[in-house]
């Protein structure tokens, strides 16, 4: 590419413009991306490494880590199954009304996380539609793990499906049809033909889904009730510590989430670079 440009003098901006674009673009990213990351690291280590490690072993923070892992361990696989089922129905078959249904899958992305949490409060909260029935049967949904899981599933629902649907549409049905003609059953076709074709895109979707599931704040905050050591996830723990002016604790907890974000980005970039041809074409 770089040779390309040099061979095409007509496409070169004047020297001052090139510098302006470079400095403007990089400067913008430094202020909005690099400096916030650096702030997390500096603030977390402000009182030294021992204090940092000590604040991570606080019992409430440890229980928040467990809660975050538990919520993601339930929500991500469920959305994964949903994504595969949706991609099979929408990617391999043609039927009327398909476009509208596909666009409905993206709906959670245009709903505020706060509203995503709130709808479950309206249904399962004490004043909600099923509130008194749930109380009579001693079932807790809101202000407990099930509520956190429901809210997380809502906000992360589109991630796997939106990676797989365009890819399976592009790949068509020729290979699956050939397997069918040779006598393979539904599950055999899926395991030996479809799954190998979509595995990297599936992993890509799971990575993004997991990052959001572990990092979700607004939706989870509404349904959690902020019960320390019981219904706090890591992002909620950051909020609590920050409001108590425990800056080292808040930023130490935040550093775990920032580390997760960086690992996710690295894995995502690796997949985009190594398996570009096996991810949906719409994504370079």
């Amino acid at each position: 590419m770089s040779g390309d440009r040099r061979d095409r003098p007509a496409l070169r901006e004047p020297r001052w413009a090139r510098w302006a674009i470079f400095v403007g673009g990089i400067g913008f990213l430094v202020v909005f991306v690099v400096l916030p990351l650096a702030t997390v690291a500096v603030e977390a280590l402000r009182k030294g490494f021992d204090v940092y490690r000590h604040s991570l072993s606080d019992p409430d923070t440890v229980s928040a880590i467990h809660m975050t892992l538990a919520v993601a361990a339930i929500a991500v696989p469920l959305n994964c199954v949903f994504g595969v089922a949706a991609a099979w129905a929408f990617g391999k078959f043609d039927f009327r009304g398909k476009t509208i249904l596909v666009s409905l899958i993206d709906l959670p992305f245009s709903v505020s996380p706060v509203i995503a949490g709130m709808v479950f409060l309206l249904m399962f909260g004490l004043q909600g539609w099923f509130g008194s029935w749930l109380r009579d049967h001693h079932i807790k949904i809101v202000f407990a793990l099930p509520g956190l899981v429901l809210a997380t599933i809502f906000v992360t629902l589109p991630f796997v499906a939106r990676e797989l649907i365009p890819l399976m549409q592009e790949q068509g049905t020729d290979e699956e049809e050939a397997a069918r003609m040779l006598g393979a059953g539904g599950f055999r076709i899926f395991w030996s033909i479809t799954l190998p074709n979509i595995k990297w895109a599936l992993l890509y979707g799971v990575l993004l889904c997991n990052a959001r599931a572990m990092g979700e704040f607004g939706a989870v905050s509404v349904v959690s009730g902020h019960i320390r050591g019981l219904t706090n996830t890591l992002p909620l723990q950051v909020d609590i510590l920050y409001n108590e002016y425990n800056m080292v604790g808040a930023f130490a907890t935040a550093s775990l989430l920032a580390g997760l974000a960086l690992i996710t980005l690295a894995a995502k970039s690796f997949l985009e670079w190594r398996y570009a041809d096996q991810l949906a074409l719409t994504r370079r």
């Binding site: 440009r5 004047p14 990213l29 089922a85 505020s112 996380p113 709130m118 479950f120 704040f217």
Partner: protein, 283 residues
């Protein structure tokens, strides 16, 4: 009319199995998690008569929150549209050391939890923060004031314009720009008359996505905003406050109003973008 529908079957015939269970599962799951809960929200709000709905919305604090949310979101999405184009241009057209890392970092706002972004941006922009300290001598407050809200919304919307413009710029034929140059247009005129019109629909899509995201944003904003009622209080925070007061009806009415406004804006931008696209194709 009926004959035409009868001739067109519900679904094209296929030898592949599993259509009914896959579609059935998909629709059940989607209904239980998303559709029915959202309908419940609309039902909750519609239990009230128009007069009571209006009484909830016609309140200076609610009005101020709506104005702040939509203005700050539009400003942030606009700034992102400009810098998104600059960054996409940088990534597609220029070759420099570390380009891959820069490309990966653009997606950080998608991966970094909003609460983390919130606490670190407010530490950064506070009067004693690295960036805030540069503005403090001039009496300009960024954190705990409206500019802080815009900063947080710029952060969450940053990837959208870059990621919508980048593929379009990549596929853009350089021959068109070269033709313009041979015909005597300078670089700036070529950009304004040839390149920019081709990128404008993608920029608008990115703007709309960043705008929609900003309107609903909660986590990154509440840490930096200061949250003073009527001054720096955003709509999602107002909903949370109503919920904490167990005023579920008030919360539902505000939530439905904000959903209706943002969906209408998205549809409007979508129509505008379609017209822009057609105009560009006709040349």
């Amino acid at each position: 009319m009926t004959a035409a529908i009868a001739r067109k079957p519900f679904r094209r015939w296929s030898v592949l199995p599993g259509f009914a269970p896959a579609l059935g599962f998909t629709l059940t799951y989607l209904s239980l998690i998303v559709i029915i809960p959202l309908i419940a929200l609309f039902l909750k709000a519609s239990q009230l008569d128009m007069a009571s709905i209006w009484r909830i919305l016609d309140n200076p604090r609610v009005f101020a929150a709506f104005r702040l949310t939509f203005v700050a979101s539009a400003v942030a999405a606009g700034i992102n549209a400009v810098f998104g184009l600059v960054i996409a241009w940088l990534l597609v057209r220029y070759r420099f050391w570390g380009r891959r890392i820069v490309d990966a970092l653009v997606d950080l706002p998608f991966a970094l939890p909003t609460a983390v972004a919130g606490v670190s941006l407010s530490a950064l922009m506070a009067r004693n923060g690295w960036v805030g300290a540069l503005f403090a001598p001039f009496g300009i407050d960024i954190a705990y004031a409206p500019p802080g809200i815009v900063i947080a919304l710029i952060f969450v919307g940053l990837p959208f314009v870059v990621r919508t413009v980048q593929p379009v710029l990549q596929d853009f034929e350089p021959e068109l720009e070269e033709a313009a140059a041979t015909l005597g247009a300078d670089r700036w005129v070529t950009f304004l008359r040839i390149t920019f019109p081709a990128l404008a629909p993608a920029m608008l899509t990115g703007f709309a996505l960043a705008f929609a995201r900003a309107i609903g944003e909660y986590g990154s904003v509440i840490f930096i905003a200061g949250n003073r009622p009527g001054l720096t209080e955003i709509v999602p925070l107002l909903i949370v406050i109503k919920l904490e007061e167990f005023d579920y009806r008030g919360a539902s009415v505000i939530a439905v109003a904000s959903l209706i406004i943002s969906f209408s804006l998205l549809i409007l931008i979508n129509l505008l973008q379609r017209r822009l696209g057609e105009h560009h194709e006709r040349g």
